[in-house]
Symmetry: C2
Subunit: 461 residues, 2 copies
């Protein structure tokens, strides 16, 4: 005691500034440490104390790592998903027309015109306003859709299967960039392209896929593309090229040469074509980890342009929602931040599976493109390891000495660290009909994670 | 003087160990510094003092950086290079049959069988022993050939042109790996494959290349592949895929579907196919820097399996020679180091142009494949900057924050630092007929550089 009083004191404070200010007022030199109590309060405490959690999360990670994804077929959504006339799927958690954002409305209008359920945008809006179409999230059918993610019965879908579970997942064919349905555009060129995709591209892809003796291993291609500068969300160039290499010879043998040549140019000219195969592969990975009681691992992150929703393994298909944030990034042409709609699309399934923004270190060209640096890319991936249950050796990141992609977002880690998942994304114009305005980075709202911890806490037995 | 004697001495020695040993014998603590006098002696001194050198080397680099390479045609060597019956080209500096290594002999035998100049290996050897065929280096015709690099009149060649100079360069079509002519194999499967390449693949590539309105920009593809995990010598996967993407639609429109499908499978199944376009593109780059009086920049590094030869800008087409070294690396199947032939092929033109081993940092998968680490790859590229005149911003290396590839090997820097160029390479079996036994790393003999400095010194005006 004597010693403590006779020597000069070194003090540090943490949390609220009250103590720090009081010490300064008394002329005591002190150091303030930035700290705030973890979010989630008693619910987080209870979930952390849940005896099932640790093993449940290990199992969830293990199931993710053991999952696979092969391309088994290409066919219309009417066949693949039993989607009937007047039924549309969309990205993100459930939403109705009245709360839908501009690009979601634009995509639904395009869908009405494409399905010949209306002959003008105005006529389409009237029907949609009166809830004349049944809307349902893609995720409710095991499917995923980029951006607005609108799927109609006549659209052709990739059908992927996970050999480890038998589960299937689906995604529509990628339309390219710019004025396209999934970004909310509905001009005649959009519908004409969709018509060609229905009449020519879809059937040709089907011919190729069905002619192959061995299924194309989408997961193996993802493993390769991660070594070729792609992160599988905003960059899919190598993946698209490997897909073309594996399928085109069979399309050449089975199609007419002018159609095949046009299809080859369309796919080869669209570096994002393979995204629509990466997404259902990632869905199969996270789906393998669904419904494990006590597991706090995130199995879905998805946005509809208004809300951002997540699902966790331990809470089944319940959505936990917060407001969708607006991405920051690079804008096309004369567009600015004012033109951008809040975050939209099921493509955050890539981050949920450990690639995309989580594997930014694999794709330094992206971060450089939007004004960042290579160290930024490395720092992003390193930060994501802090909120993940483990690593995926199948997706080895070259610059990190082939360390596996950070995999299995743990809700408790997000709340304890305050680190939000990093998502790479495209940006849709907020006015219906605009199309793409840019690409950039975004994070989910913390509300979705605090809601999820409450959902997990209520399920403790 | 007083102070020097009164205080304890700190000593260091450099160079030969005589002084170091003498001090130790007298009980004086001392530190030996590793140092050896630069190689090249008075010739190096004279060349360093040459007033033209600095500007000449700047010009050589500038011409390399401004060069381009587009694919203008595909045609038989008889047309492209006016190669007549009984005339063969080969890799590296000049060589005759009596001094030729096993793989060079095997390739020449294969060439005789392919051209129907002999009906058995024994008959072919008899003719070759009697110098019944005219042998000439590829480089003497502005061409380049991987491994044995043997070119015969009936082989189809890529024809590339540099828009900045009008120069042309050529390379044969890549046969794939394993049992192939360029690795010295001559079994019936080798000849059958070459026959198909002559009768089907070559003409189809010609149809595609001639149908395109715009020439394929090979240099632009190299710029992209460097961002996709390829270093352009031992890894050409992304390059091959981009080449297929750009050419295949035109082949589909111009060929019969069964031929095109087979060609697409052949090219898509051979990650090295694009090497034979990278090599002439690199030749055009270094050729742009040829014949600048006073320049000490290396314009050719090439091996024939016996000798390693270099050429420099300031010495025109004179060869400076040393013994070819045996690469270290990974062996296929049951092959060992005992099976490997010394270094062979014109493919070191890639390193001469700043990619391949010089851009190892762009392709960590390669160094990992042969047991090294990602830091090894970075260290290799960083070391190469020390012997180069500058950097090529067109070939930006992602992990080095897109720093340009180390470009323009300077003979004086090689001699002053003792750092030899790092070359990635395939390994041929030393017994004629074997084919490929592995892939690995190698350096040139220092003798070639000391000979070059003498050649440069004698040309000082």
């Amino acid at each position: 005691m004597n010693k403590l009083l006779s020597e000069s004191l070194a003090t540090a404070t943490a949390g609220v500034s009250l103590l720090h200010d009081a010490l300064l007022n008394q002329g005591v030199s002190t150091q303030a440490v930035e700290w705030s109590p973890p979010l989630g309060g008693k619910d987080l405490h209870d979930v952390m104390a849940d005896q099932r959690r640790s093993v449940a999360n290990e199992l969830a990670l293990s199931k993710m790592l053991n999952s696979g994804a092969v391309l088994v077929d290409v066919k219309p959504a009417s066949e693949a998903l039993n989607l009937g006339r007047g039924e549309f799927l969309h990205a993100g958690p459930p939403i109705e027309w009245s709360r839908a954002s501009g690009p979601m409305r634009g995509a639904l209008i395009a869908a009405m015109l494409y399905e010949k359920m209306a002959d003008s945008a105005e006529a389409a809006e009237l029907i949609l306003e009166k809830n004349g179409v049944a809307l349902e999230p893609c995720h409710h059918r095991g499917a995923v859709g980029p951006m607005a993610g609108v799927v109609t019965p006549s659209m052709w879908m990739f059908e992927l299967q996970d050999p480890s579970t038998g589960n299937k997942s689906w995604c529509s064919l990628n339309e390219g960039l710019g004025k396209v349905l999934r970004y909310g555009a509905y001009s005649p060129e959009v519908i004409e392209r969709l018509d060609w995709m229905r009449d020519v591209l879809g059937p040709l892809l089907q011919v190729g896929v069905r002619a192959r003796e061995e299924h194309i291993d989408v997961r193996a291609i993802i493993s390769q593309m991660i070594q070729m500068g792609d992160e599988g969300h905003n960059r899919n160039r190598a993946g698209t090229l490997m897909f073309l290499r594996d399928l085109l010879p069979f399309m050449i043998e089975g199609g007419t040469s002018s159609d095949v040549a046009r299809a080859a140019r369309f796919v080869g000219g669209n570096d994002h074509f393979f995204l629509n195969l990466v997404m259902p592969a990632c869905k199969l990975q996270t789906r393998a980890a669904e419904n494990i009681p006590g597991s706090t691992i995130v199995t879905v992150m998805a946005r509809n342009g208004t809300d951002f929703g997540i699902q966790t393994s331990g809470t089944g298909n319940e959505w936990f929602i917060g407001p969708a944030q607006t991405p920051h990034g690079l804008y096309l042409g004369n567009y600015t931040a004012d033109d951008a709609n809040p975050d939209i699309g099921d493509s955050a399934i890539t981050e949920t599976a450990g690639i995309g923004g989580f594997s930014m270190a694999a794709a330094p060209a992206i971060v450089r493109f939007i004004g960042g640096s290579v160290p930024d890319a490395l720092a992003t991936t390193r930060r994501m390891y802090e909120i993940c249950e483990g690593e995926n050796p199948t997706f080895g990141i070259p610059v990190l000495e082939f360390r596996g992609a950070p995999t299995g977002i743990d809700v408790t880690r997000v709340l304890r660290t305050g680190i939000l998942p990093q998502i790479n994304t495209g940006m849709a114009g907020k006015v219906a009909g605009t199309g793409q305005v840019g690409a950039g980075l975004v994070t989910p709202p913390m509300e979705a994670f605090t809601a999820a911890i409450t959902g997990l806490a209520t399920r403790i037995v």
